[in-house]
Symmetry: C2
Subunit: 447 residues, 2 copies
């Protein structure tokens, strides 16, 4: 790692100084994975210079590993013939992802440069809507028929070993291309060469090409498959989703959830190669939505302005109380969002979840409320202590319930549960918490 | 899915009514994956009853797929001989994970029931500290030597196809067990049968058994390996980390990050099978830490109590301003935590990140500040508008910088960056934001 940092620093200096010979020598010290990392950490202009210094054979290997967004940048910076070469060498599903990053005119020109077969395959993949597993599947698979012997299947595998995306999971189809089974290369190797695939294969799990990529990827990961067959509505085999693509999809989905839980849209490319303006843009919408929602808290406080004027000390606890409510709510929301994502909880469990969260919230509220009561009663007076204690109890119970319900509600109305997560619930709990606080204060302090 | 919900409901009713024959019939309608899901969604007592209704052959398959925490519950609920049978059938790495869930006395008794070979393997794995990749590796691999031919290697693979954890990635060792290369089954199959492994193999990536499991898993995933060789300090081969274990490790690590970003510890087991008390316990520590930190906001406000008494209207904007600061900070923290986790940013990039986040924060602050100024000037007066606008500008710039720096600081002092995430930064930004707010208000409003 330290070695990589040293080379990267010297490389940046060499490029800045225009010493391309030295830069090229430094690049040769790095393996393709490290070169990929260096390019993804560079601003656009420098990334293109670095990439052009690679030898032709290394260039393709590095290009394949780059983030599609960075590939898109390079396409604009390279000569047409270089781009056409790279484009035709990519796997069909990777090619489809790159097309998504390019302006339509560029993409169209590149597609025309492909062989008729490659173009047909890529067009078929691009025919599925973005976000569906059809868009991410690979049409390069090995398949077998139930009447094949293990030996014949192994011969097929050998012949296609160099080209197919994976050879380790073999979908089995009947004479009209319908998926009827699945067999692993391991089973084929371990069996008698004369055994038929029909005897070896097992019931296949599969996904429809129109299914969401995330759902299909989760099926693939849950079953620890190395590839999941993708079929059309009549269960005819169209392609496979490989395990590394499945995990890439799941990681992207999780990055999205994490970003949204933190109140921003995910960056579509590596952080250091993203412009300041794009980073600001990924955050501004949520920040505005939340700031506008927070106007609600101003309005709630306006209602109680007279109460505040009579007892300014109440203002001191506002951030503490709303903060605790927000934290309790975001804890519950995070737990339930996660449980929904991994399938531990379903939308039909809403009452079960509410019942559990009310109890958890009350338990937490009792503890925090007692502490709050004792502290505030000691520092201020018993009535203030009662207000703080009771408010904490009610706010925790309310926030846990709302936080637990929100993701389920979102999922029911087909909105990404992560959207309703942390910051949104924080804002909601702020306003509700203030209402609870001042209602209790008015009642107990009789103002 | 709807079908599964119906069967699950009927099953729960049958078990509650004591109609075990009907329950057993219903279970037969489900595949092992669905049975696993049903058991993981049940409270402990019911989970054990459901599990006992399974036929012996299905029972092992279901047990292997269960969450280790739920496996641990079942061990307590089953007869000793049943448990001993299950325990010896598990893969060595899964066995080590189960041992972690059991009381030492139970674990010891189970270990004694193993064959000498299985016991030695499991003890070796358990010798590595929890969290290291040694703890998660599988010692059941196929390996080759450089002087083997492809044909001889294929014979070895065939012989071990039934037992080895994976046969698709083959580590290559020399005569003293040192790792010298790696070759995929695909390459072996595609090559001339007389070619030697020495010609086919490539430079291996590997991890030390004492390395962190998460780091090793990321290496495995980044290189799209189906298995990563695990070696000792003298690069002698000890085992392999398979791709599905690697992704399980990464998913667990991400679940932990997500939970911490939401201010709680991750649940160690499926949500619905976790007791209310355990859920409350997973949240209470963070909630207390945050509530105690929030006392800082009370103290900051006490300093400005006189200012507040003179101009109560200032209190109305407290939740809005602190909320916006918290949101900006958590956005930056989430982005940088993620970038650190996937390797897009390193701790040595701290100045680069700070420079970027100051600019992003200022950009967002200028936008929100202008809006805040106009709105507050219209509704209240120009001086109030100036206070709100300026505060928003400063708070956004401050929060983005702090939020971006915190994860890097955490990583530098070897603390999990996610710990410093959302709620902690929110609380910190609340207190700092209030200081900024009242300092600006005192200066502009001259009170």
């Amino acid at each position: 790692m330290d070695e990589l940092i040293r080379v990267e620093n010297e490389l940046n200096q060499a490029i800045s100084a225009g010493d391309l010979l030295q830069a090229s020598r430094l690049l040769d010290e790095l393996n393709p994975r490290e070169v990929t990392e260096v390019i993804e950490r560079s601003p656009r202009a420098k990334a293109a210079v670095t990439y052009r210094l690679l030898s032709k054979s290394r260039a393709l290997e590095v290009f394949e590993m780059l983030d599609p967004a960075v590939q898109g940048d390079l396409v604009h910076a390279l000569r047409d013939d270089e781009v056409t070469g790279l484009f035709s060498e990519l796997d069909p599903d990777d090619r489809a992802q790159l097309v998504d990053e390019l302006p339509a005119s560029v993409a169209q020109r590149l597609m025309l440069g492909l062989s008729a077969k490659d173009r047909a395959i890529t067009t078929a993949i691009l025919g599925y809507r973005s976000g569906s597993v059809g868009r991410r599947m690979s049409p390069e698979y090995v398949h077998a028929h139930p009447w094949y012997t293990a030996a014949r299947t192994l011969d097929d595998v050998r012949a296609k070993a160099a080209d197919a995306e994976t050879i380790y999971t073999i979908p089995v189809t009947n004479d009209v291309k319908r998926l009827v089974g699945i067999v692993s290369l391991r089973e084929v190797l371990a069996s008698d060469p004369d055994a038929t695939i029909g005897e070896l294969m097992s019931e296949p799990e599969y996904a429809l090409a129109t299914d969401s990529a995330e759902e299909a990827a989760r099926t693939c990961a849950d079953h620890e498959y190395l590839a999941l067959p993708i079929v059309d509505s009549e269960t005819r085999l169209l392609g496979i989703l490989t395990v590394d693509d499945a995990h890439q999809i799941l990681r992207d989905a999780e990055a999205e959830d994490v970003a949204r839980a933190g109140g921003s849209e995910p960056l579509r490319r590596p952080y250091l190669s993203t412009s300041i303006f794009s980073i600001a843009r990924s955050r501004v919408v949520w920040l505005l939505v939340l700031a506008v929602s927070a106007l609600l808290t101003v309005q709630v406080l306006e209602i109680f302005e007279a109460t505040l004027e009579q007892k300014v000390v109440l203002a001191l606890f506002i951030p503490l109380l709303t903060g605790t409510g927000g934290n309790t709510g975001s804890q519950a929301a995070t737990t339930i969002t996660r449980a929904l994502a991994v399938g531990d909880v379903r939308t039909s469990d809403v009452w079960l979840v509410l019942l559990r969260e009310v109890r958890v919230g009350t338990m937490l509220g009792l503890l925090l409320g007692s502490l709050g009561f004792v502290l505030a009663a000691l520092v201020y007076d018993v009535p203030t202590g009662a207000v703080i204690g009771l408010t904490l109890l009610c706010v925790c119970a309310m926030a846990a319930t709302v936080g637990g319900a929100m993701p389920l509600l979102a999922k029911t109305i087909h909105v990404d549960p992560a959207v309703f997560s942390t910051p949104f619930i924080t804002t909601f709990c702020d306003a509700t918490g203030l209402l609870i606080y001042f209602t209790i204060a008015k009642a107990i302090l009789q103002i």
